[in-house]
Symmetry: D2
Subunit: 377 residues, 4 copies
């Protein structure tokens, strides 16, 4: 191999023109990436670019995708260690390449050791400004929004990072269709009131106001994951909430028993199979309270509850919650949108939406959001 | 990171159940991968698998794609060095995963240092047999067959390995549609008589009978690239020749002058723009001679000259060549097939066919081959 | 022309094996077709078939489509008069042809003279039984369900029968996907509480229990249009209500003033553009009352309120109405489904859904209904 | 029915602004339509339009399609008699409607009584000029070009006009993509040298220079079908010859024996299944002679032999013929293009290409012609 003598090292913190995607605690030396879809974006005028990552985990390793001029060209598992990854080499040094390095896997609440940090870049050119897109969108969701199953054969059943994708994901596709910057807050199996297993702690709203509060452990604390998120720093035009699928699933799961306290929780069905009114009502109250919290932190956003890629059993309750919220607050900038259901044809791995289901959802959702942004609705 | 204590090392040569794709010189310690689409395939029953690669280059680095159960899950640049790449981890140890590790870039005739070797596997399970597919297909071609431009934005113009793909490629897609094992012999810019630049040395036929004779240098010699290929070891049912595009391009390029001898070569046009008869005739003779060579080495194969993804100016000459060959030999198992032209919609990077153009070509070509294999033609 | 001497005349009433589609008053000599999608279906074993129609109108002429073995082969305007239309000729007399003659235009509430009657068939073969399909579906709707705009160039603006289609219509497509017989009750511009123009008489519920009560005039009275419909004769498994689009439109239209009484009606907006609560509530009550009426007449059906092909502003009110109905009756077999929005790409004529929008809606809706019929929901 | 008092009668011959499609003998009182795709085109500013047709046949009745603003809105069988067909009514009298009335069925060489004449129009408005399109294309072919099987269920086997379409046809689609006026010369079962059944009289070239010489009988004589065609009146930019499919089929059919003379004809295979050289050569000579005839009559046209929708066994012979023609004449403006093969998915009725196969062919062919018209080839 011939060395490129022109390469220079840049601590990420000293690069003026880098756009950071995803919530962070502010530290850039190094930059910790928490959420799926988070990462860095550069307009790099030069021939060769490397990025230095630091990675660890007990169970769930991170993956990244690299996009050059908006096209995914690389996707790879990041094994443990601190090392250099080459982003591109041998390119025309006079042309500007838009580069995004994207975390392809969700924040891992089940693995306190899981960490992905970006330390340094090695480059032989100049970093040019990365302008903001005209819109900002925040997506909040569960496994669907984490892109679980968006890659891989239909037969795959392992719960591993390999099957997650931030790129073949309705979030990225919707943002691209809207020409928007975007962020994702998501966790597989979690809900508004409880997780799929009736665990009341697996709820997104409790952690929404922290940088990445659903993580645990000293490592993540040191990285600032539990700090209060600075909402003023990034105000979305649209917030998409894609939650409810696991709250619905809880009605089909056994009760959850807290190993610490012995307390149990269970969303129950009536004998005819319908959902128990008081349990639904608990969901409605939780969803309504979440809307209050979302509005408080995102004063200018249109909030869309978007739901339906894996069935719509909770839709009446979601409409009730939004109705309750709107009547009690007078807030008109909230609406509900049904996403198209996954079909056999569009299913991915782990009986989750595949890339085609995500495309389908993005097409419908972005059409709806465009009308809202054009003030048609 | 928690170490997996069950991992064991296996030199590739000691693994009974590994299928090698692509021509090799027989050595397995290590295995050198030359051609695009070459690689190893395993049916791996275990939870974690690593592969040790050794990589070097002066200019053009290799890339690999990893397919798990036939779905591409990873694609990455391989930078210089000898190191381990994790294929999968954390999977159900009792399930068999079909894994293919595929060289995504063509043999690099322009970089004598370019090498990709596979040494060792690290695995915690058992390798199961990988049965042969019912058919074998060999593809012979140029940049189209090398998948140049099958990945990347339309605006990309750099000639770099990043834009090559063996996976989003009509060769892989056609083989999948036919349920066939396949091999590829290809080189960007090369032709039957000359390359795009009128260089008469850039012709595939001269090197067809070596393992990978279009490479150069001592490294490749040591790896066996220039040895005679053992055709008996792998007899295709179908040979697809996708050459002629660069022979056509030569009519539009300046003459080529041999830096050593000063000899020049040029395929010429008449004043009205048509191709000079004697220059076309030289192509016809070269193509006919190549068919003789193909038949000698592939006695049972149906040979298909498939051409047209970047226009069809040479098609009359190709038909002439095949007609001449058939009449002079009596061989009936040769035919010509026009591939669908790339359109603005289906173009990839470097004004070459994109993934959609490859899909389109694979659909038409595999339909045609199916009819042949069913003896309908 | 050579006469076919084997042709025999059959009054429709004397044919045992004819399936009548659409609500009728029972008379078969002749048979009056009221609703879009109504018609006759035959399994005709013979070579030549004619049908005698009687047609009149003041403004809006009827159109028919003819389907042979489920494929539309003919579509034509029926001008005034009593005359013969040839369905097929010259066919193999020993093969059974499934033939459907379908009214392609809605019942015309605005033209008391509009009538389409079928008197007699001329045939040279045998009519074979036409078995019932495994399911029955009733669709209730407005212009969308009438297929207004499903044919014709995007620029068309005339309100004429030419642009209506019962065939390129989500109703027919959904029924085909479900393998169901189906009926349609629909009227352009009408709603649940009022029409698009705030006219409170343009509501479907008031006329739902008559054969075709929204028509007027002595002709239609004589044909039995105002008789009570015999619900027992045809009990659907699913009732799809696609109403609300015009109720939503009324909020944007000027007030309607009754020419007879001077009474006015208007669905009003608040200053911030939102819908007035009491006016929405009137819609909710009307929708809830309609559900009560639907259930009374269709005891075994799953009722689906399907809405959204031209936006979803009324969706919250629809959910409220269904919630109110379910809570007040305990009836669980009612649900709401959002149909995919028309896009610029899928628009037809008269800024209404085109054939592609209908296909899109049918795909989503039939997927949802299949799950219901399979008792998954 | 209310009479439209403003309707006035116009003999077709007295209308200045009517565009006639298809070859005719010049007579306009009435206008006889011979070929599929022939018809009249109007830019009609008025509210109501009728056309008076005169129809007869012994076996094969004509069908027409009506297109309003380029969209097919009506398709109907025309039974024997002289009568009025309403084209549109009730439309905005101030808007111009582009109307085409198109013969949907080929000239019927097997039915001397078959005739379709247009006498008179009834209209309440003004006929505006119909400008010529920028290009003219002539299509010459067999059943594929006649649109046999482009409509109807896959199971249909009757040879009847119902399954023919001039609209869902690659000819119409290619012309639309090129923004070209077009004409069609075609006959099911016919070829260059012989028909599918080895009948040497079923060849298009012998009749190419007459208005519609492949018809027979006194009726057609009186209508001018056998007159010499005035090529100067309509000079195409492109001639597409889609012949060869039946010449290929002849190799699989029994010999044809002339009932009059007892002479026989047969295209023969060798024992190994290949085509006999001298029989192929007869085809090559016939095809070459046809090219000479085409060039004589169409001096400025690029001639494209387009073949392949039902397999490509004759392609080598077609290339030979074109090569022979080009070498013997020096004419460079001739080329060969392979059309995409019909698949199971795209098949229509009578195992002929369906509408999807025609769309596919039109897409490829129009792309190729665009390049030629842009002088790229």
């Amino acid at each position: 191999m011939k060395d490129n003598k022109k390469l220079r090292m840049y601590a990420l913190s000293e690069i003026e023109h880098v756009k950071i995607h995803g919530r962070t605690a502010g530290n850039r030396s190094p930059l910790a990436l928490f959420w799926t879809g988070s990462g860095i974006e550069l307009n790099a005028k030069g021939s060769e670019l490397w990025v230095e990552v630091e990675v660890d985990y007990r169970m769930y390793e991170p993956w990244i995708s690299i996009l050059v001029n908006s096209v995914p060209v690389s996707r790879q598992m990041l094994t443990a260690g601190r090392y250099w990854v080459c982003v591109f080499r041998g390119m025309d040094e006079n042309k500007i390449k838009n580069v995004r390095i994207v975390k392809d896997v969700q924040a891992m609440s089940g693995d306190t050791d899981c960490v992905l940090k970006i330390h340094t870049l090695k480059f032989d050119g100049v970093f040019m400004p990365v302008p903001d897109k005209p819109y900002k969108v925040e997506f909040i969701g569960d496994s669907i929004t984490s892109g679980e199953g968006a890659i891989g054969a239909k037969t795959e059943e392992d719960w591993i990072p390999m099957w997650f994708s931030a790129v073949h994901n309705y979030t990225a596709m919707t943002a691209a269709a809207l020409n928007a910057d975007y962020r994702v807050i998501s966790q597989s199996g979690w809900g508004v009131l409880t997780g799929w297993d009736n665990n009341p702690h697996s709820n997104i709203p409790d952690y929404y106001e922290q940088v990445c509060g659903l993580l645990a452990g000293e490592n993540n604390k040191a990285l600032g994951a539990f700090e209060e998120h600075d909402f003023a720093s990034w105000q979305p035009d649209v917030v998409v909430v894609n939650l409810g699928t696991n709250d619905g699933g809880a009605f089909n799961s056994p009760e959850w028993s807290d190993p610490a306290t012995g307390e149990t929780h269970k969303q129950r069905r009536n004998e005819d199979g319908s959902y128990r009114e008081e349990d639904l009502e608990a969901f409605v109250q939780a969803a309504c309270a979440f809307l209050v919290k979302l509005r408080r932190n995102n004063p200018k956003a249109h909030i869309i509850w978007a739901y339906g890629m894996l069935g719509i059993p909770m839709m009446p309750a979601i409409y009730c919650a939004v109705d309750l919220y709107m009547k009690s607050t007078g807030d008109q900038r909230v609406s509900v949108f049904q996403l198209p259901n996954m079909t056999e044809e569009t299913a991915g791995s782990r009986t989750h939406p595949g890339a085609m289901a995500h495309e389908h959802a993005a097409k419908e959702l972005s059409g709806y959001i465009k009308d809202i942004l054009a003030s048609k609705i």
